[in-house]
């Protein structure tokens, strides 16, 4: 496997079988992927095609049955325990489809939480929170508790939280699935803007056409394999 300096994610023959009792469900069946720095890539495919599984493995939330994942040249699929959780915390931001926020913490406390784990001093935390809330268009809403925020606002807080520790890679599993398409498109625009502004790499799954259209590259999964890998002409990235 050759690693190029600009390769952010490299997966090698990635496989994942879920075992339940005696039944083996192959969710990912041999995925080789290279994602470069600054990419803005959509992972698409029908429900059950393995998108969540793949994202979980890349993020280190789950481990592959076979194969390996490198992140910035580090074999994340081999890491364990505190090493893994520290690496993930510092290098990967993750946005789930829903339930992204800690319900007893306000929007700004949710964003601050990760920086607190990282040991960022309080003043700097405050400053970064203020700035990132502006970046996602939520200035002045920091004090709100999650139930007082709309679905789109909650997802924006989730993105702010994923980005605030400056991880380099943002993974998002169907971040717009619970939003109406307009709100979803707006969220994507914010992500796109942040991608361009900060150079962070985004890899997100979706099955929304409007969302896909905003990506530079679309990887289509089918039955746990890459069925198509398309770089879009109108959004040249390399």
């Amino acid at each position: 496997m050759t690693n190029h300096a600009s390769d952010l994610i490299v997966t090698e023959n990635l496989r994942k079988d879920y075992r339940e009792d005696d039944i083996v469900v192959p969710a990912v069946r041999g995925v080789d992927l290279v994602i470069k720095e600054r990419e803005f890539t959509a992972l698409v495919g029908p429900s059950g095609s393995g998108k969540t599984t793949l994202l979980n493995i890349i993020s280190g939330l789950d481990s592959p049955t076979e194969g390996r994942v490198w992140l910035k040249g580090k074999p994340i699929s081999e890491m364990k325990g505190a090493e893994l959780s520290d690496f993930r915390r510092d290098h990967i931001g993750f946005v789930f489809q829903a339930y992204n926020l800690i319900p007893v913490l306000s929007a700004e406390e949710n964003i601050e939480y990760i920086m607190m784990l990282q040991g960022v001093p309080k003043n700097e935390r405050r400053e970064r929170v203020r700035k990132i809330l502006g970046d996602v268009g939520l200035q002045g809403m920091g004090r709100r508790m999650p139930p007082k925020l709309s679905g789109g606002q909650q997802q924006r807080v989730a993105i702010a939280r994923a980005m605030v520790s400056r991880p380099g890679l943002i993974l998002a599993d169907e971040p717009t699935a619970n939003l109406d398409s307009e709100t979803g498109a707006a969220l994507l625009d914010i992500m796109r803007e942040l991608n361009e502004k900060t150079g962070m790499t985004f890899l997100f799954s979706t099955h929304d056409r409007m969302v896909m259209d905003r990506a530079d590259r679309i990887i289509t999964l089918k039955d746990g394999r890459v069925a198509r890998d398309e770089i879009r002409a109108e959004n040249p990235i390399r």
Binding site: N56, V104, Y113
Partner: protein, 404 residues
Amino acid sequence: MVLRMAFRNVLRQKRRSVLTGLTIFGGFTLAVIFIGWADGSYNNIIDEFTRNRLGHIQIQEKTYFDRPSLYKTVDDPKAVSGVLKGIPEVESWSPRVVSAALAASGDKSAGIQIIGLDPEREAETTRFDRKIVRGRLMAGPGSKEAVIGRGLADILKAGPGDDLALLTQAADGSIAEDLFRITGVLSTGDDMSDRTSVHLNLKDAQNLLVLGDRVHQIVVTVPALGRVPAVARAIDRDLPDPSLRAVPWQDFARSFYEAMQADKAGLWVMLVVIVVIVGVGVLNTVLMSVLERRREYGLLKAVGTKPRHVVRLVLLEVLILSLTAVFVGSLVGLGVNAFLAEHGIKFAEGLTYGGMEFGTMRSELNARSFAIPLVTVLASALLVSLVPALRAGKTDPARTMRLH
């Protein structure tokens, strides 16, 4: 921020938290009141018992307690009195002479124990005067009057006005015998001793036994039961004669002391019940909230929280709830104890038993009635929370964050 999260989590499920808090509060407060009350009553009983019969401390020849003998005496009771006067925590004392003898009245006879005492001092020390159930106390020295136990009166079929012949061995080796007049019958509540006791004037007994000024024991009382061991040590230090010892009631009334200790086993039974109540209540709550919040723990883990920090969060929530309950419980429990220690509960009838009076039972306000429930309640709450907390720490984010 973790503390803030824990606080808000406790507040989130208000109803459940309040119910659990009440369980902890109830268990804790009951334990505080129970221990205070139990300690109070035990002290009451012990105090009444020792005060009425044996005194709190006895001064005797070193080996007298194990093997009593006519010849093991306190040779200079005056010197000992001098020492006792010098110890401010001594309330009162009374010297006694004790010896086995044979008693006869009419055509009945029985083996008895002569107890020679000073009726006035004895009244002050062990309320001797209050134990008379028939007749009166004996008059002064030389009157040759006797007060006998109720059981003995039955055995001898004798009572006030009857004659009593005593036969025994005197300290000079001679056979001593003399005739006494029964003036009173008493009941101490201890049937054993009431079947054998013949009380004489100290001086009369000393004359009969040819003891001169010597006595066998000096019974001492102190105002506060808790001070007995310390006062006993203080007396011991100052005793003029190295062959003498001041023995606290725990030693000379060993079997009574052990019975009291055994009775306190009830306390442990109650603590177990409280541990179970608190444990089940807390376990139920923690299990429920851990199950409900699996996704939240998954999220915490997914954003980089370490398992032990999730465990800490869960335990912190339990701790906040427990401490709040314990705090309120302390105010109530110690308040009740303070009130019952001050005012007590008055029995309308006034419980009397063998000259002991239990008119008012009081609680005791002490540290252990707070410390024992505190440790028990906190330990059981945290202990039962440990397993659910560890489970929360092990939450697999990849699994729990999936939408089902």
